[in-house]
Subunit: 421 residues, 2 copies
């Protein structure tokens, strides 16, 4: 159908044409429609059956301009195409870990999906120190399923290239990642965060260190030219909705074919980032221990799930039955996972740096109002990024990574805590 912007008056008519949506909403006379988006980019509505809040859906529509700035600021609706395509794939392969997609309409830039009512964007309860018992496992399972099934290991050659063709033009958002994760934070750039002390520390620690910068450039190479699998592309704690016993991955608008390690490393780094924040945030050492435990769980669950699926697959774009004897294939797999692991650390180091000095900070630390405290924690994350980038290729397993992180914090804890409490 031809694109039109759906206003609230038009929503009931649109939804009533969609049988699956009407199944969810059920029979009744009227709807309660609430706009719930942040209003920057898209329209996001909650549509519930009047008198039954448990019968509701979320409708999201992209508009061809920057909504917050108005119709005079044009912005392509293309991003919604990739979000729709990735959402549909995830809905099929990781049900229960992503919202169910009831309807997706590329022409209208509309998706209608499961209402994750009563769940919260993970970042904010994590800042408060809320423990989610299954979070690491759920993230690890999502990573294992999505990254295996949508890679050259889980797809045949033709299907894989067909899928690549569906995402290769998500180029505006890829360019954002190339610039804002892999470039601008590492040079003096007008887009960077303006805390002068933090910036000076970044310049001292890594902007002046050729070895660190060459490693960043190597990871940028990989981001540009290592399409291992379809990635969510922006999997941080703001792209997860969580409750006591549910975790959902949302908002895959950055979806692209990229390196396994980027996806795994980014979310692990978000937990490390939160660790630093809890020198000041209320969780304290217990919560920090929990966070580090979840980093381990993310990796081990991902590793297990990925290898479990590999065990069920003997033919794909890469695999050919009997190419290696079983014992040799196990060696190959071990080496394969080891490469993902080390890459994840390197990508995680990029992530820590860019969330500290780049335009898009994490609220965990950047939301701290006391500038003296914030600066101290930012400097710590810069140091941690440096440490991990310089060590990524010598860390052989998750225990070694955790040990390095523990040592790092043990050596600094007292100094950081001085005057913080």
């Amino acid at each position: 159908m031809t694109y039109t912007v759906l206003d609230q008056a038009a929503l009931p008519g649109y939804l009533e044409g969609l049988p699956r949506v009407m199944e969810v909403l059920g029979d009744g006379q009227d709807y309660d429609i609430t706009e719930i988006g942040d209003g920057n980019l898209n329209f996001v509505y909650r549509v519930a059956r009047t008198g039954d809040r448990m019968r509701s859906v979320i409708l999201k529509q992209a508009v061809p301009y920057l909504r917050v700035a108005g119709e005079d600021w044009p912005l392509s609706r293309d991003r919604m195409i990739y979000e729709l395509r990735a959402s549909r794939l995830y809905s099929d392969l990781a049900p229960g870990l992503v919202p169910e997609i009831y309807h997706a309409d590329e022409d209208m830039s509309v998706v209608v999906m499961e209402d994750l009512r009563d769940l919260r964007v993970l970042r904010y309860p994590m800042i408060e120190g809320v423990v989610f018992p299954n979070i690491g496992k759920d993230i690890g399972r999502f990573l294992g399923k999505a990254l295996f099934k949508l890679s050259y290991l889980g797809m045949d050659s033709m299907a894989r290239r067909d899928l690549m063709a569906q995402f290769v033009k998500n180029e505006e958002l890829c360019k954002l990642t190339e610039d804002f994760i892999f470039t601008f934070p590492f040079v003096e750039h007008e887009s960077n965060y303006v805390n002068p002390e933090t910036n000076a520390h970044a310049t001292k620690v890594f902007r002046g260190d050729p070895e660190y910068l060459k490693r960043v450039l190597y990871f940028k190479e990989q981001f540009l030219a290592k399409p291992d699998a379809l990635l969510h592309g922006d999997l941080h704690t703001g792209a997860l909705m969580a409750g006591p016993d549910a975790t959902f991955v949302i908002d895959p608008e950055f979806a692209l074919f990229g390196p396994f390690g980027f996806e795994v490393g980014k979310i692990m780094a978000n937990f490390l980032f939160c660790y630093t924040a809890h020198y000041h945030r209320p969780g304290g050492p217990d919560y920090q221990d929990w966070l580090l435990g979840e980093v381990t769980t993310i990796w081990t669950t991902f590793n297990t799930e990925f290898l479990r699926l590999w065990g069920e697959q003997d033919e794909s774009a890469l695999l050919y039955p009997g190419f290696l004897e079983p014992a040799d294939l196990e060696d190959y797999k071990a080496d394969f996972m080891h490469r993902i692991f080390q890459d994840a650390i390197g990508f995680g180091a990029c992530s820590l740096a860019r969330r500290t000095v780049g335009i898009a900070g994490n609220a965990d630390v950047r939301g701290i109002e006391d500038m003296a405290v914030r600066t101290r924690l930012e400097m710590m994350n810069i140091d941690l990024s440096y440490l991990l980038m310089m060590k990524y290729d010598s860390l052989d397993n998750i225990d070694a990574l955790v040990a390095v992180i523990k040592d790092f914090h043990a050596a600094r804890k007292d100094k950081v805590l001085e005057g913080l409490t």
Copy 2:
């Protein structure tokens, strides 16, 4: 225009509608039309102005069936789309090293191009022992220009992803490469070459060696998921036309985004393959020395040209001005070229193996009628493939590679020559 098969009667009318073609053919009354293709896949015609053979063009058209088998054997014309697109790009960026494209018509699956009259497909004069003084330089220059300019080093982010979108669906030919270069030769497969002694040697030497096979699988991974640049994709000595002072790269129907090392290694391996053939072919030791010298020249010229272009480029998808200090950037470049070099050796080892035991042999050796001789040389190429695959990651420069190849041949020469002459 709607697709129709152009028969000889229809050619003049088609060509007369194309101003650039008519410039080349000039004024006159009539045309001499000769079919010159091998007749397997496409129609290929030479069209010359009657009475002036120097005014001629080549017209190539793909038909939607396997021509040699007839209209009942359907075959997609898509391959011509990618050949056209790559030919146009090469024509712009490496004039004089590829035929000039006068006209390209994707709907009609037609390309009209420069007639490389009086040149020969390089493979055959090389089998005869003909020296081409500029061949290594020309190949190296082509590689340098094409691989740099069509990579994330030479293109900006958006243009690069747009170009990737134009080639990502060349999936049938990519699948052929995945199967026939990286898979079937390394297992027992019905498509393989049937010389039982050669096959038995391959099984003994590499099919039973897990380390070798794991390395092959690693290079298959790279072929699948390392889109460094747009590659010709099938750059062997049969895809080059050469004369005493001209070299042209032809037939880029396999064009794909793939790893630098694949393109560089494949053509280098073709020269090594020819080296082995000249234990029997008439060139003898002098020609073998020349071939090995040209392998060096291909690499050094590629390296120089690639770095020359890099020196002129400070901004692209990967590069950002000032990201590294000049001396550090030089280090990064050296490491970058080193990685391409080692990958080229590994890919070259795959190539040597598949041209020996896979379905598509090189005439250099497979065309030898004396089976005893042929078998002995095939076994030698299998051993050379093994050697290079096991050593690729310990060879640091072209001199080291040449030394290893010289040692290999020196140790076997006498045994091979026994009874060959």
